[in-house]
């Protein structure tokens, strides 16, 4: 492909990847942290799709959730707080052959990285983005996040945070060229896996908002939701995720939803109680920036020099 030496493809039958092939060491998150289940979910998808580890890229910012790439045996880029998107875009811009995941926290994405988030949605480059929303800053020890609920007592707002939280769903779906948005929770593996699977299969910027338990600081926020599935509403209907009926059965709240309808998606995005889970919006026909940035890949040196000489001609006397 594009002049790349894809020599692994010759022996693809000889390589079978197990979960272990994607795993690097022991993840150092707190016991019970939701990040562990998300890690397993991503490794399962890669295994299910038999993506070679060397062709897999995980890019993150800074935060507990951004430690994610270190626990993967793939290529990883653990960059700067809030700035995973530009790096992932740059990698993808000239490497269509790489499978791209981005892991980002609620502070990483919705606060310091918010500017990049807006534009990443619009670029709609082919990557699976997982936003770990524990409604708190975990790594730096319990500061208010833009997704923290009003009144949440934190180290930066000990009397309770002042403002209503940012809604990642309505924000993303308000942005131009959004092509995929889904929500799920870390404590229902089946739903998490099915949602990430749908995101993985979508070509474009597949944004998955995951409610994530932080056992150190905010697990109590989700205790109620974990105990009572009625706090969640399962999105159903054509185009929804492929969920095992035995799992689907536990969700009594259902919303019949058409993910191709942006207006319906925006209405669903506004509801938070019960919290809608599943695909809110998907449109595979949105333009992807990769199609432009990949232009000219593999141009041979002679062609480059020939074209360059023509450019020099324009400035020659």
């Amino acid at each position: 492909m594009f002049g790349l030496k894809a020599d692994w493809s010759l022996e693809v039958q000889n390589r079978y990847f197990t979960l272990e092939d994607y795993n690097d060491g022991v993840a150092r998150w707190c016991p019970g942290c939701g990040d562990h289940t998300i890690l397993t979910a991503v490794q399962r998808i890669l295994r299910d799709h038999q993506v070679p580890p060397e062709k897999t890229m995980v890019v993150s910012g800074i935060g507990c959730s951004s430690r994610f790439p270190h626990y993967m045996a793939t290529y990883g880029f653990h960059g700067l707080h809030g700035r995973a998107f530009p790096v992932a875009e740059g990698i993808k811009s000239r490497r269509p052959d790489l499978t791209m995941f981005v892991t980002t926290g609620d502070g990483d994405c919705c606060s310091i990285g918010a500017g990049h988030w807006v534009h990443a949605v619009r670029y709609n480059m082919d990557m699976t983005v997982i936003m770990f929303n524990n409604e708190i800053y975990g790594l730096t020890k319990k500061q208010t996040s833009p997704t923290s609920r009003a009144g949440l007592k934190t180290n930066t707002h000990p009397r309770g945070s002042f403002l209503p939280p940012i809604n990642p769903a309505s924000s993303t779906l308000g942005m131009t060229n959004a092509s995929f948005f889904a929500q799920t929770v870390d404590w229902n593996s089946a739903h998490l896996n099915a949602t990430l699977e749908a995101a993985f299969n979508h070509r474009g910027f597949s944004f998955v908002h995951v409610l994530q338990r932080c056992t150190a600081y905010t697990s109590y926020l989700f205790d109620g939701m974990q105990a009572d599935p009625n706090t969640l509403a399962l999105l159903t209907g054509p185009g929804s995720i492929d969920l095992d009926p035995s799992v689907a059965r536990i969700f009594k709240n259902r919303i019949e939803h058409d993910p191709s309808d942006i207006h319906a998606a925006r209405r669903v995005a506004e509801t938070t109680d019960p919290f809608p889970i599943g695909i809110l919006y998907q449109d595979a026909s949105k333009p992807v920036y990769d199609d432009h940035s990949n232009e000219g890949l593999g141009t041979p040196p002679e062609a480059k020099i020939k074209a360059m000489n023509k450019v020099l001609d324009l400035f020659s006397i």
């Binding site: 002049g3 790349l4 030496k5 894809a6 020599d7 692994w8 690097d24 580890p53 060397e54 062709k55 890229m57 995980v58 890019v59 790439p69 270190h70 993967m72 290529y75 990883g76 880029f77 653990h78 960059g79 700067l80 700035r83 998107f85 530009p86 790096v87 992932a88 875009e89 740059g90 990698i91 993808k92 811009s93 000239r94 490497r95 052959d97 790489l98 500017g115 990049h116 807006v118 534009h119 432009h292 940035s293 990949n294 232009e295 000219g296 890949l297 593999g298 141009t299 040196p301 062609a303 480059k304 074209a307 360059m308 000489n309 023509k310 450019v311 020099l312 400035f315 020659s316 006397i317």
Partner: protein
């Protein structure tokens, strides 16, 4: 400088060089006329430097003092490296626009002014008065004034002289400087190649009319500036175009940027041409994202570039620290403007040197190359890409508004395949080699690229081991910092001292960097001819610093830098010898050599003219 004495005898008088300005309201085509004159002169073998005169406002009203729009052309029988001192001859379409030029010290007593005369008879009394007042002032300044009816002459040929006057002026200058009219006509035909033949014919007629007009009205202004022997294939461009061509010739396939003056025109060029060599230019949402995007692309295999100026550099700081820490190659083209903050967006300054070297948190050594000519703007990018890859680190190429907007000629580069980046390596990664397998003697390490089987690692901006594992222990951080620093020591050992222009000993050595080179060397040559024991040297690789400086400096009684950035005036008032802040290169050289190196600098927003440097040499050496 040549005198402006009118030639009494027959035939044109030979001169070595002249500086001309064409000044008008914007939209009157003065720049097109000047560019054509410049390229015509280059074709005739002259050395040429042109620089546009840009109005202070975007759409200034006609005949306003802030509205000077036009061009300066300096050309001669030798290579021209800078815009020079005061002009010898000015063509002006009205008087008002010249006021601002006096603030820039563009003219001197004896400068010839050819000015449109129609304002003297304008129906509006105020305009007549303004015109008379302007002429009065110019006379006081000692200009030699010729009021000439350009527009009436153009009206004989076109009903719309506003649009045709510029080619008429080109015709006048073609008489005055005995240009080859056929080359001029070919140039005009090329400019209007997409227009109807009658447009070409009209402009040819205006050219001829201008030629005859000058011969009739100012017959004694007739000079010959001899061309040099055929200099071979030649490119005419400004420094930003040269840098953009360098990016393409280096095989850099991905450039990420955010618009900012004066760097933007590099991206305009790339937007137009980069795809032709299979590359892509990304306009990011801000400079931090642009740097991140380029770093991502570099990390994924092929060294990318980002382009910026002052405030953009500030925003990229965090990303560049990451590239240094995680050892990601990157080319940063920095076209400097005036600072701090938004500063002087369109003006000349060289004040980002220390920001480049010390802008990051923590210890973040880096490679910095300063282009000193337009030609170097091209070649330095190619060098930068190679160094970035070999040393696995960001490399800055610094130029400035002077080089970015100055247009001059240089030998057409012979493109080489070896200049291009090597194709993406996707072979298996050698077993047992870690992602930061630092060579203890050089600090260098090979870099795994995504797709290489067996090389999987997670890059991190956190302190890390050879395995790229996060590690905070004292030894790891000490050692990895040493390894990153060692690379620069390794590179420094391969560098050679900068060249000395003139004797290797004497009373004064002037040290420069970047775009001041042409002016410094011209001033020093003049002073040498006048008997002063002065030499100059120019530092091209500033970090790591080229070697041998202390040995070189020791042989001079005084060493000073000449720079376009701020330094405190001589001691007086609260400025004392102890607290006086010196120009940026001087600070670096003082640290490097432990010698008492002074600086002479200003922040006028202008290129430093050779005459001013000459005066400073004389001030320091005349006893």
């Amino acid at each position: 400088m040549q005198d402006n004495m009118e030639t009494a005898g027959q035939g044109p008088k030979r001169i070595s060089e002249h500086i001309i300005e064409i000044v008008s309201d914007s939209g009157e085509g003065a720049q097109k006329a000047g560019q054509t004159f410049g390229s015509l002169s280059a074709k005739m073998g002259n050395g040429v430097w042109t620089v546009e005169i840009i109005p202070a406002e975007i759409k200034p009203p006609a005949r306003s003092k802030a509205g000077a729009s036009g061009i300066r052309i300096r050309f001669g029988d030798h290579q021209i490296t800078n815009m020079g001192d005061e002009a010898d001859l000015v063509v002006a379409f009205n008087g008002q626009v010249l006021y601002g030029r006096f603030d820039q010290h563009a003219y001197k007593a004896g400068t010839i002014l050819l000015i449109e005369s129609k304002w003297a008879n304008d129906p509006v009394p105020e305009i007549r008065e303004q015109y008379a007042a302007a002429l009065e002032m110019f006379k006081e300044k000692g200009l030699i004034i010729h009021e000439l009816p350009f527009e009436d002459a153009c009206l004989e040929i076109t009903p719309n002289p506003r649009l045709g006057k510029n080619m008429f002026v080109l015709g006048m200058l073609s008489y005055i400087y005995q240009r080859d009219l056929q080359i001029a006509k070919d140039n005009i035909a090329y400019i209007f190649r997409k227009k109807a033949q009658k447009v070409v014919d009209l402009n040819h007629a205006l050219l001829d009319r201008g030629y005859a007009f000058a011969k009739q009205h100012v017959p004694t202004y007739c000079w010959e500036v001899p061309g040099r022997e055929n200099p071979g294939a030649t490119i005419v461009s400004n420094g930003n175009e040269a840098a953009a061509m360098g990016i393409m010739a280096a095989g850099i396939e991905l450039v990420a940027m955010y618009p900012i003056t004066p760097a933007t025109s590099v991206s305009h060029f790339l937007a137009e041409h980069l795809y032709k060599v299979g590359g892509f230019m990304h306009q990011a949402e801000d400079e931090s994202a642009a740097a991140g995007f380029a770093i991502g692309a570099s990390y994924a295999g092929l060294t990318a570039a980002t382009i910026t100026s002052g405030p953009g550099l500030a925003l990229k700081t965090e990303m560049l620290g990451l590239a240094t820490m995680a050892e990601v190659p990157l080319v940063v083209v920095l076209v400097q403007r005036g600072g701090p903050s938004t500063g002087l967006p369109t003006k000349v300054e060289q004040s980002d040197l220390l920001a480049v070297l010390y802008g990051q948190a923590g210890d973040a050594p880096k490679i910095a190359i300063a282009s000193s000519t337009i030609e170097e703007c091209f070649h330095d990018v190619i060098l930068a890409r190679k160094l970035a890859e070999e040393y696995r680190t960001p490399v800055y190429v610094l130029s400035d508004t002077n080089l970015a907007t100055g247009v001059s000629q240089y030998p057409r580069p012979e493109l080489k395949e070896e200049w291009l980046a090597a194709p993406l390596d996707q072979s298996d990664w050698p077993e047992g080699v870690r992602p930061y397998e630092w060579d203890p003697n050089t600090g260098l390490s090979p870099r795994p690229v995504p797709g290489q089987r067996g090389g999987e690692y997670t890059l991190t901006g956190l302190a890390h081991t050879e395995e790229s594992h996060v590690a905070y222990d004292p030894e790891v951080n000490q050692r990895s910092s040493t390894m990153r620093s060692l690379k620069f020591a390794t590179l420094q050992r391969t560098l050679t001292p900068p060249e000395i222009k003139g004797e290797d000993q004497g009373d004064l050595l002037i040290v420069g960097w970047g775009s001041t080179r042409g002016s410094i060397e011209e001033a020093v040559l003049r002073a040498q001819k006048d008997g002063y024991k002065v030499s100059s040297t120019h530092i091209r690789i500033i970090s790591p610093m080229q070697p041998g400086l202390k040995e070189m400096f020791k042989k001079f009684k005084q060493v000073i830098t000449v720079e376009i950035n701020y330094s405190d005036p001589a001691p007086g008032g609260n400025f004392t010898e102890e607290n006086r802040r010196r120009a940026q290169l001087a600070q670096l050289l003082r640290e490097q050599t432990l010698m008492d190196i002074d600086s002479w600098s200003n922040v006028h927003g202008q290129p430093i003219r050779p005459g001013l440097i000459y005066n400073e040499i004389v001030r320091r050496l005349a006893h």
